[in-house]
Structures are given as structure tokens and as C-alpha cells.
């Protein structure tokens, strides 16, 4: 199945969800991406992308029961769908193919 290509940020989010497994919700996803990409992410932008990914069918979300330490608010947990996994794999393959055969200098010169 061919899928739409994913943006870099979208890939980061999907990968973060995979990393986090059962514990993937707003706070942890944001921290995971922030930690690895070293840039601050606004929560509004995060959810905009998560929603889009959900609409595309790459993610699925579920509201948890309210937890007291969050002021009695629920968490929204995200899990990767099969379509999401396919899309990730395809994105990676495309990129890898593009990188193939390039000299190592370019890889290193990126600071």
C-alpha cells in the first residue's frame, strides 16, 4: 500500500509513540521528542499534528479515567496503528534510498 509521505515532525511523533509504548500521552510524547530533537515544542502544535495523524489513520487515541495529580483531568493515550507502522517504514525506506551512495563527507559535515 502506498501512503502519503510523512513530514519530519510527524515521523518524530509516530516514533515517539512507538518508543513510549503503553505510556504515550501528551506529556511523555512531548518530552520524548524534545529530548531527542532539542527543540521546544508547543503543546498546541503537538496536538494539531497528533490529531492530523489520527485522522489519517496512523494513530489511535483513547481517553483514560481522570487522575487526581492532573487536577482530576483525563489523559489521552495514543497508540500506533498498522497503517501508521507501514507509513513509518515507507518513509524510512524512501529516505534511506535517497541517502544511498552519498559520500560520507556530507553525513559528517552536518553539525
Amino acid at each position: 500500500m502506498r501512503t502519503d509521505s510523512l513530514g519530519e515532525f510527524e515521523q518524530c511523533l509516530l516514533l515517539a509513540v512507538v518508543h513510549l509504548g503503553a505510556d504515550a500521552y501528551g506529556v511523555t510524547i512531548r518530552q520524548a521528542v524534545e529530548l531527542r530533537t532539542e527543540r521546544e515544542i508547543a503543546i498546541g502544535a503537538l496536538y494539531t499534528s497528533l490529531d492530523r495523524l489520527e485522522r489519517k489513520g496512523y494513530l489511535r487515541s483513547k481517553m483514560s479515567d481522570p487522575t487526581p495529580q492532573r487536577g482530576g483531568r483525563s489523559k489521552r493515550f495514543f497508540t500506533l496503528t498498522a497503517a501508521g507502522a507501514t507509513a513509518l517504514r515507507q518513509s524510512r525506506e524512501r529516505l534511506t534510498r535517497m541517502w544511498e551512495g552519498l559520500s560520507p563527507d556530507l553525513r559528517r559535515s552536518r553539525s
Binding site: Y25, G26, V27, R30, Q31, E40, A42, I43, G44, A45, Y47, T48, D51, E54, R55, K56, G57, R60, S61, K62, M63, P66, T67, Q69, R70, G71, R73, S74, K75, R76
Partner: protein, 911 residues
Amino acid sequence: MTLRPPRLAQFLMARSLSKSDRDAILGDLSEEFTTRAFSSGAREARRWYVRQVRRSIGPNVRRRVTDLLFRRAIGAPNRRGLSSVEALMTDLRDAVRSLRATPGLTIVALVVLTLGIGATTAIFSVVDAVVLRPLPFDEPDRLVAVGERTTPRKSPPGGKAAAPLPGPDMSRDPEALVRVQPQNYLDWVAQQQVFESIAAFADNGAFTLRVPDAPPEDLVVQQVTASFFDVLRVRPLLGRSFTAENEVDGRDRVAILSDAVWRSHFGGNRDIIGRTIPVNDGNYEVLGVMPPDVTYPVAAVRSTDVFVPYVVPANQRVRGRGFSSYLQVIARLTPGVSIAQAQAQMDQVASAIEQANPVWAKNLKIGVRPLRDHLVGASTRSWMLMLLGAVGIVLLIACANVANLLLARSSGREREMAVRAALGAGRSRLVRQLMVESLVLSITGTLLSVVLAWWAIHVLRGAMPEDVARVGAIGLNLRVLVAAAGLALGTGFLFGVIPALQLSKTGLTNSLKDSTRAASAGRGRQRLRGVLVVAEVALAVVLVVGAALFIGSFIALMRVDPGFNPDHVLTVDVWPRAQPDQRPPDRAQSFNDIVDRIGHVPGVVHSSMIANGMPLGVRMRIDRLVVPGRTIDGDDSVSVKVVTNDYHRALQIPVRSGRYFGPSEYRGGANAMIINESTARTFFAGEDAVGHVARIDKKDWTIVGVIGDVHHSSLETAPRTEVYLPMSQSEANSGQLVIQTRDDPYTVLPLVKAAVFAVLPDVPVRDVKTMEELVARRTAQRRLSMLMLSLLGLLGLVISAAGIYGVLAYVVSQRTREIGVRMALGATRSRVVAMVLLNACVLVAVGLAIGGVGARYLGATARTFLFGLQPSDPRAFAAALLTLSIAALIASVIPAHRAATVDPIVALRAE
């Protein structure tokens, strides 16, 4: 230190999120906030929180909009919806981007839209609330006012009349009803069959609340017949209303409170029903409390506080010697009866009454009129409709201008469109793009205009003259806003989309082939834009001529010499209340005492008092003046003023011959009288009146002086014949203190109050104002008209100037290459400038001509509002045409300058 996220930031975040998102996202934020507060301190955490919110609001709002269009439910993926929503978002982004690319044009369009829609909404909201909206009662179409009609009488029957005189408006309102004599009202009730119910009420009663340990307080009271509540079909919310049984002496001490007074004075206590409240002349039992939305007069600035029964005084049940007209009568038509039928029957009733009482009811006319028209008044109505017309013109100019701007814009984009189409954009895609652009423009303009309208309504409500009805009901009218915005939107659509359709019709190749700058707009479209400019100019001429006429009227009014000097004059009402059924006692002696005491107050130059109405008031007493041995052909009635000796000095009314009143006027002395110039002209044409004897009030008076005329009822009406009698030699039961002071008039007020209190301790001091304030109040409507029309005229001027500028600037930019060629071939700069200006001149001249003719015709409708000049006043027209020409010239200068500075080399190389 608390561990709460910043409240404002949290609030903003919550508001910007849709409900379904709120829980998860706010939860995430507060969870992380807590973690951060522990690891890096509360201050750092708070800073982080605020930063997060600041950067999230944009995406949040965008997402909400998408959600709204898409109706997303969590966990319900939808591929088709996705594409259309995202396409729309793309369109929106493109539209904003392309509007931003031409900032000047966009800003002009937005300003024009905002002013046009905002001004229209504001004015229409006011007009709707005051004039158009039905009365807030059940079946309001059946409510009528019944009154007596004014007929010119040589002299009132029975000698003396205390009839309230027509206010300044009535002279312009042929339909106006005057108040009714109780005797007549009783006959009407007995004889009519066209009204389901009919009621009378009087507003001249007193109701001074005397709560122990609190200063006495006047409440606004209406004495109403029990049927009042049937006519309006209103019932107290608490308790009950009174019945006809209460309309007899002894049983009439019952009251119904308004909701506002019940809450403000009695704490909103429900047990008020059945309690008695202490009032000046005894105790009243509270029977009921009216619902909060029921006020009468409707939405007045100061509405009725308390309703008490009206009892016809015994001496007013029969037709005796004197009469007074003070009742207002309202009625509800029987179903199926038209106003004309009601009028016909009341005409019969009138002639029956006249037959039975030939002297008393001579020329009695009864008028029936829709209650709403009666409350609002014809002059206010047409005044407001005229304002509405003016603002409508502004809206039209605005629409023409926006159309013009959009046309200019699309002509400049012909190539862009052609390229897009060549690259595969379908026709519908192009049309949609243009539609979205005009939509974005219109919606932004509408939002801005809501702010403008809201503010303008606020200002207008404060500026309304106080006699305008229903001012309290004025508020932002959403229907109007929607209508005005719809008109702007329609204009935007029409003129935004036409070019796109035209483009696809003519074919792309032409546009692309003609890719040089020489390609200018099609001839048809240019002509359309010329027509729009002409229309704008013509409409602006109408507005500016109107503004000039009103400014001229106001100047003429300001030039009127009132006949007295309002500088440094304080006036105070001294109005001892009397029972309506008793003859008010004579207070002349007490008044003289008060005036004497005030004369000794430091800072007072002249202390005086006048009974029977001071200048620019509505009260007046008319009587017949008889000069023995002379018969007068015309009107022998005079307005009688009773004044203390220094009155004319306090107002600096000039003496023409003879003298002012002085110490020789005292009780028991020789009767003296002062007359004004009009009286002298009427009764003693060509000779000196001083020394003659005239008869009034069954007494003979020697004329001791002739003084200048004073504008008594209003500045606009000519002075009438007046005579002044000394207060020491006649009677007075109420009046106004008129005090000339050396400094600020209000500084003497405490001692004035003390003087009144010392002589008449139970009379509250009312209606304190300076003469200058009174003059300002009486010119308020004219001032407001002038300001409004000037403002609207200015708006029209600016908008149409912007239109002229836009067209010329565009023409110049389109013809840059042509100008370059001309200059390369030897055209001088002045010739280029002349070419551009000629272009402007043709458009403006046609507009001025059409507008001038239109203004000439429309001016006639404003005739009744003008003062001191004709609707065709050449000065007003000249001023307006000149102003517009100058504005047009200024608007043309920049494009002309731009054309003149075209560098031929650059222009030609640009190919």
C-alpha cells in the same frame, strides 16, 4: 509560593481549546507544570507555562476552526473530509497571503468596510430602537393615543387658560396631540364605543418619599386610572393592581411600585405588599410591584417609579369657570376597529360635546393616533429617518468603493490568474480562491465594524437630546449588523468573482501573450470603474451638501440673539407642591423674601425670580391684554410673566424706553407693568407705550417700561408678545430663581438652598442649572444633527477620495510603459501630469454635476430641519462642491506625481 499555573494563561488556553480537547491538554500542561516546579522552581515553571500557552493559542484556534468545519469526532478518521478541510485552510492561507501582498489596497478596503458597516449599524440600531420597533406590549398595533388637537384660537374661552403650551416640536408636527381636560375625558369614556379600554393618566402629581432619618426624595409618579393596566395589558408581578374602586377620595392611598424602585428603595423584599410607605401627604399602601420589563413611558431616561390612582378632582368633574388640560389618554382599539373608524367616532363625540357646551368646547377637536407615533413624535421620526438615509448613502459609497478596489485588484492580477490557469487550476478553483479572498476581507471588516458600532452607539446614546423617546432601549442591533455585513459581502462576492469569470471566458492565451505591461484592463471594466467613481462622488456631494446645510443652520441658530445674556446665571426651580384638587396658595410674599435673602449672598450680583416660565422653558401663561380705547386686529393674547424687580437686570435684557422695575413697585403701590417690543409694536404702533394703561387680570396697570424681545419658547421660534408684572403686586405659586453671579454660578448654590430652606422649609430645591446649560440643552438636537451629518459627510468625502486615488493610481501604474514612451518621445512632465489630472477631472466633474442635482432634490426633504437658510442655499452648495473638488485634487496629486516621475529608461527597460 503557590503551585498553581498562571491563571490568565490557563484561562486563555482553556478558552482557545474546544471542549473535547480541553481535558487532555490542560491536564498535560498542569502535570508537566508540577514536575517542572519541583525540578527547576515555580518561577521557571510558570515562565514555561506562559511560553507554552503563547505558542499554542495560534494552533489551537486553527484547529478549532478546522474541527468546526469538519465536525471531527475523536477516533473517527475521514479521508474525504480531510482533503476538503485542508484545501479550505490552504485557500484561507493563500487569501491572507495575497491580501497581505497588496497592503495599501487591503487596508483601504478594510477601513472603508469598517466605517461603512459600523456607521450604518450604529445609526440603524438607534433608529430601530427609537422609531421602528413596536411597543413592548401585547398587540401593540391596537394601542392608540387620544388627545385634543390644537386649533388656533383668538383667545381661550372663559378668560384664562393654564394649558400647557406646545413644546418646540409641536409646531412642526401637525398630528401632535395636546393634553386633555378631565371634563372632556369623562365624556369620552361615557360616549365612545370604539375602544376596548381607555385610560387617563397625569404626571403632575407629587410623591416625596419621607423615610424617617433620610432626606426627602422625589419619586417619579404617574396618577393613572385603573384601566391603564387593561389598556397596556400589564399586571403587577407581585401583588395586584388597583381597581376602579380606588378611584374615589379616601380609597386612593394605594401604590404600585416599579421593579427598579422596589429593588433600590425596598431591598426587593417580597413582604412589601400590604405595607404602608410614608409619603409627603400621608401613607400609601403598596398593592403590587410591576414586572421589570414594564416601564412607562417606554424605556425613558427616567421612567415612572410609582403608579397611584388618578382621582378626578371634584371641581373638574363639571365645566366651571377655569379649566386645565393635563391628562394624557391612551386606549386599546376594539378588535376590528381601524384608527380611521375610531377617529370618525371621536369626531362625532367632539361635536356632541361642542353642541352641549357651545362656549366651553368651542372648536374642540379630538385626535386618535398610533401610540408609538405619539410617543416618538413626527419630527423625531423624520429626523431619525433622515439620519438613516445619510448613513445609507455612506454605506453605498463604501460598497462602490470596495467594488472598485476589488476590480482594480483583479485587473492587476490578470496575469497571475492566467498563469495559474495554464498550470492547471480549474475555473472553479480560481473562482473559489477569489471568493475566499473577498470573504476574508468582508468578515474581517465586519468584526472590526462591530467594535466601531458598539462604541458609536455608546456615544450616540449619551448624545441624544433628552426629549427623544425610548433612548433606554438603544443597543447594538445584530439584525442590522448582519444586513449591512451581508450587503458588503455581496458586493465583495460580485466584484471579486466577476473578473475571474470574465478571465476564463476570454481565454488564457490572450492574457499570456499580452504579457507586457501594456496590457491594461479591458475597456468595459474600466468604464465600470469610472461609473463607480462617478457614483461615489455624486453620493458624497449629497452628503456634503447636507452637512453644509446643517452646519449653516447651526451657525444661524448660534447667531440668534436670545434677548438675554446667559453668562453667569444660575436658575433653580422652587415648586411647592399642591394637591391637584386645590387651588395652589399664593407664595409671592415668600418668594420675595427668598429673593431678598439671596440678594445678600456674597458673589450674587442680581437675585430675582420669575413665575409662569423662564426663557427656553415650556411653561407659559397666556391672557388677553386690553388697552382701553383700542381694538387690535390680530392676536390680542400676550404671555404674562410675573417677576421680581431685578429680573431684567439679572438677565441683562435691555430697556428700550422707560425703566426697569424698582423700589416703587411694592404691594399696595401703583400697579406697574413692563412690556416687550413685540407688545409695544402690536398695541402701540408708532408711539411710546410708556405711560399708557393696560388691563389684564381685571386690574389696570401703568406701563413703566419697554424692554427688548426675548426668545421664550425656543431660539428657533420668533419672540411673542409678552408683558411682565411685578411679583409684589400679583400672585405666584411657583417659579424659578434667576440669579446672576460674579463667579462660577454653582459657588452660591449652598447659600441659595439655605435661603429657600429658611423661608419654605418643606420645599425641595429642584432642577438646578445654569442658563448656559439650558441654552446648550435646547440646541442639543441641532448640534447633534450637525455633528452627525458632518461626520457622515466627512466619511463620504474620505471614502470617495480614496476611491478616486485608487483608480488613478491604478491607471498610472498600468500606463507606466505608455507614459515612458511618451516621455521618451518628448512629452514634458507637465503634460503627463495634465493627462492624469484630466482623467480625474472628467470623472469628478460628472459626479459633481449628478450629485449637485440630486442634492437639490433631496435637500427639500430636509427643509423642516433647517433654520435660517433654504435647502438650495448657494453658499452650502458652493462650499460642498469646493470641498469635494479639493479632496479630489488631493487624491489625484500622488498618482499624478508618480506619473511625472516615471523614468522613461526604466519604464522601457522593464520589458
